[in-house]
Amino acid sequence: MTIASKPAATQVLNLVSAVNQALDQALAKDSRVMLLGEDVGRNGGVFRATEGLWAKYGERRVVDTPLAEIGIMGSAIGLAVSGMRPVAEIQFDGFLPSVFDQVVCHLGRIRSRSRGRLSVPLVLRAPHGGLIHAPEHHSESPEAYFCHTPGIKVVIPSTPYDAKGLLLAAIEDPDPVVFFEPKLLYRSAKGEVPTGYYTLEIGKARVVKEGRDLTLLTWGAMTVTCERAAERLEREDGASIEIIDLRTLTPLDIDAVLGSVEKTGRCVIAHEAPNTGSWAAELSALIGERALLKLLAPVARVGGWDIRMPLFRLEPYYIPDADRIVLAARKTLNF
């Protein structure tokens, strides 16, 4: 793990508090930083990610916007081009499609289109993933749409420590960063977090645990599911499992991916999105292209089904659980 400067003092935070602290410290450090989105101000965000910041930094810098996502995204782009460092929030993953037009046509293109004269140093924050018993469109994992779009970076932490360090790095980044926050982990993921300001390098995967027999490649809340699956595989199957949490989806840490898969020869990719055309497809393709001769079994993908996600009562059967990962891993181990 790369740490620009890791201060000594730490405290135990959950993921949403780590996000909150990152935003707080960014606002304190850089007067160009501002937050905008629906309910991010007085209400502190529907997940409380921006709690307290409106009172602390005022409504000029922590802005409750009208309910208009193109307005949020487009004006954030304009603000960034004009020299600010906006952090825009889209309230739920499922409402991101309304900003695709700005994302696909502009977000990652303005630097190149202007031949380097203009840039768009903004962060687009959005919760990610399912299993919080919320209505349709509140459990989506739309990362593949963003990863296919040139000119942007896509980050998704799964620990409080990574969340804070990567969010501060994203805000410092001279290019647009889409920052997904696994909402299942907002309160359940807890960990030691340095109290001071620090950044983690974007583009570096994290080895969650080392292993010899099979690589579980994953990101977001599925990291925790993979840990559960790995435990069981080690206990019941005596297999040694390596888990890689990508943390950054683009630019991809290809060295970490290939390093692990070349070592284990077996790989299962676990994620929440509809599997067809997902980011797992790209990973599988890359591994096939670059490590074919090291593969002892086909790279397996465990993802959501290629259907509309059912309402939340059946969500646990849509989003892969540890059982599904165990099943896929066993097939891969026994290939």
């Binding site: 009208p66 208009a68 307005g71 499922g94 409402f95 309304s98 209505p135 059967y317 849509y318």
Partner: protein
């Protein structure tokens, strides 16, 4: 010709029954006593239902639920101007709309319990489920109205959106189409003062939302949304005009969200209890009761009987809701396509395999039969 006026507009506001129950007789629409009583009954029942739904959620027997209380007139009355074959698309807060359309409320509960089987409307009704990404249905409703125009039988499409949602570009494109093609569409903006924590004043910086209509060549009017008679008069005349090919109407119903945004929200974080008090005095039910009582259509005994009948009805609906067995996970694969492609057949088999892995070979026979069409 120097600086001259090239277009002018007055936006009107319609109020018929005042907060204290006084009637503007000149504006009173033609409504039978029976219909007046229906309005009151629907509003009464949906309020009681709303209260029970919140209790269910608070005791862990229901998922997150969006409260209706305060908005009963805006929700229950417009459907009374429609035929079952007219299209209706409310918002997620529109339980009162569906109820007035005849929905069996056990299904509303089932829906908010996260069960797809809750998406069920009366046979023969052209009801559509609301869109969770707010506003995304607005252009679709233009299409539904357009479809009615093609059929040529005088059908209309009526829809709602919130004050917050009125800021979405979807409304702009929907009204542009509706105005351009003179579609038989009625757009009701259910202005309840809030979009979660964001007040109406944080949306368009215009004094009314109704005035937006002008920019599209669409008829627009503001209505006291807590006044069932005004809501009725405005909707009925919009529907009548639409049926005759007179084109669309935008109706801003000014009402108030008396509760939290949903059971997951805490409105005390962002709003003043005093404002809520002000609006409590404009309650749509109270004024209707005063009015009906003055007309000798209502009395305490009738109220008590309705309360009793409502309790029983709600008990039945809650029981029916809770008696639904857990859905078969395989249901999710039904009805994604008219004919499921090969990939879905494989994936459904994989889910079967998973179910067996979890629950043993017998699990598939123990689950309720899978519903829906597959492949």
């Amino acid at each position: 010709m120097p600086l001259k006026t090239v277009a002018s507009c007055d936006v009107k506001r319609l109020e018929i029954l005042s907060a204290d129950g006084r009637l503007d007789k000149k504006l009173m629409p033609k409504v039978s006593n029976a219909l007046l009583l229906t309005m009151y009954r629907l509003m009464f029942q949906i309020r009681k239902f709303d209260e029970r739904a919140v209790l269910l959620q608070r005791s862990g027997r229901l998922g997150t639920y969006p409260m209706i209380t305060g908005q009963e007139a805006t929700q229950c009355v417009p459907p009374l101007c429609l035929q079952p074959s007219d299209w209706v698309v409310p918002t997620y807060r529109g339980g009162g709309v569906y109820f007035a359309r005849g929905m069996s409320m056990r299904y509303a509960l089932l829906y908010w319990a996260g069960d797809d089987r809750g998406t069920r409307f009366p046979e023969g009704n052209n009801d559509m489920i609301f869109s969770i990404p707010v506003g995304t249905h607005l252009t679709q409703v233009a299409g539904l109205a357009w479809g009615q125009a093609f059929k040529g039988q005088g059908g209309v499409a009526l829809t709602y959106c919130g004050d917050g949602t009125s800021s979405k570009g979807d409304l702009h494109e929907a009204l542009t189409f509706a105005g351009q093609f003179k579609l038989p569409a009625i757009y009701i903006i259910e202005n309840n003062g809030w979009a979660i924590s964001v007040p109406r004043s944080r949306q368009a910086a215009s004094p009314t939302l109704a005035q937006k209509a002008w920019g599209y060549g669409v008829a627009g009017i503001q209505v006291d949304g807590n006044d069932a008679l005004a809501v009725y008069a405005a909707t009925a005349s919009a529907v009548a005009r639409a049926r005759k090919g007179g084109g669309p109407t935008l109706i801003e119903c000014e009402t108030y969200r008396m509760g939290h945004h949903t059971t997951a929200d805490d409105a005390t974080r962002y709003r003043n209890e005093k404002d809520v008090e002000t609006w409590r005095r404009k309650d749509p039910l109270a004024r209707m009761r005063t009015f009906l009582t003055a007309r000798a259509l209502w009395d305490a005994a009738k109220e008590a009987a309705l309360a009793e009948q409502t309790r029983t009805w709600i008990d039945v609906e809650v029981k029916a809701y809770e008696e639904h067995p857990a859905p078969n996970p395989l249901n999710m694969f039904a009805d994604n396509y008219a004919t499921a492609p090969r990939a879905l057949i494989e994936q459904r088999a994989e889910l079967e395999e998973l179910l067996k892995f979890k629950g043993g070979a017998r699990i598939l026979t123990e689950l309720p039969a899978a519903e829906g069409r597959f492949p």
